[in-house]
Point group: C2
Chain length 298, copies 2
Amino acid sequence: MAWLECVPNVSEGRDPRVLDRMTARLTGRTGVRLLDVHRDADHHRSVFTLAGEAPALTAAVLDLCAEALDAIDLRHHAGAHPRIGAVDVVPFVPLGRTTMDEAVAAARATGRAIAERFGIPVLLYEEAATAPHRRRLEQVRRGRFEGLADKLRTPDWAPDFGPAAPHPSFGAVAVGARGILVAYNINLATERLEVGTAVARAVRASSGGLPHVKAMALPLPARRLVQVSMNLTNVEITPIAVVFDAVAREAARYGVAIAESEVVGLVPAAALADVAARYLRVAGWSPDKILDSRLGPD
Amino acid sequence: MAWLECVPNVSEGRDPRVLDRMTARLTGRTGVRLLDVHRDADHHRSVFTLAGEAPALTAAVLDLCAEALDAIDLRHHAGAHPRIGAVDVVPFVPLGRTTMDEAVAAARATGRAIAERFGIPVLLYEEAATAPHRRRLEQVRRGRFEGLADKLRTPDWAPDFGPAAPHPSFGAVAVGARGILVAYNINLATERLEVGTAVARAVRASSGGLPHVKAMALPLPARRLVQVSMNLTNVEITPIAVVFDAVAREAARYGVAIAESEVVGLVPAAALADVAARYLRVAGWSPDKILDSRLGPD
């Protein structure tokens, strides 16, 4: 049975009653464990981290969609984070010996089930995408909920499953398969969004920055900070510490310091150990020296 | 069956043929996994990290003692690290649901077997100690191999098992039970041993420094460095990053920088993640956010 991580992102980060209901739906299920819930009021978005077997994950995602359909109306939703759906993205990640093909199969089965059950349009992305221009999540989400009706009408963006028009209150959902990534945000001690934008542009791969780094700037008005929100898609090639130091250096060019950072969801032990080994200047560091990783099955 | 870590320290860090033979003896055994071998030529000492079931660990340690008896003569041994035996210390550490009582039982069974098989005196230490003054390894090792004959003759230091005189070439062995510790060395960019001694004194608990830190200074003449060699016995209370920063600050008082550090054996993921979270200024960090730790059995 395929053993997968599944990380649904939901466009609700403020109402505790709604989030508690969603959490309850994902808790105590057979074949699925809820590992983490990350709520963000500024983003108006929450991230649930699940691990389990493919069919049980599909069932859990369907229940989460039912709850979101009931509770979220994107026509009255404003948050810092771009989104196209009430449940916005549902990535499947292979764990252990599970293959990417199995993650793709889980994504497609889940996408099909969401469309059939709720009449919601589904776009497959990354490894599950059905065309090269639909692989990157940034492209899938471009235009956001507000531009979705026009977008889904174009042949390039016809949904993989479901109707060619957004669900009125829910929008659409991107369902994909990808490798493990680290969702990592650095909050800058400034309210000047343009500083965040400049830093994001300097560090992200798509504008000539660090490989395997996606970055965008978001305002966090309640905290009076600006966030550089990132996905690090290969922390072996571009380690977290390198990204942190690059952001610190770029921000310093504008006289701005790092206030804090945050990890969204879970992060692999080896990625954090690498940060520690750099800070501590450990000679001859190897992830083989992490006790916990060596005590599992061979 | 008790699941334990066992970390024998051997007084040989230079001859690759001897170390290869020892490694071979500890490899491919039923019920035991060899997780790490740390060789140190300056210390003239190596550390083997094993995990397994108690009786299989006892058998592995006996084979290691046989090899050490054959290959090591402490009368002709000089290294930077204090020692009383060819196999010098054998700590047992409970893993998972194993209790400290089970680790103590494994230590006592192993100590008794070493004494019976080889006629080597055995001193039990830490949780396995038979008197309060014999708990601390520093006290057990005080006087080193060279002072051992006089020491074992005093009533306070009569061996727990075996004869009241050192084995002529092997010496004696300290066998104990303890919690997980981090063996962590920081190498200072100086050849002045007195700087290392001052730093060790400033940071260690026994002279009023940081709680749960043991520290001593050792010369590393081949590398032209001085080492602050430490055991961190509770990294939740005194995190690795706090120790690193304290050593850096104390050394700076003498105009000395940190050249590098090293981890001896294995280190828990959470201890390194804590260092990373501090360096990255992660808000709301919790070890629950380490992916690997969450994927094991509940």
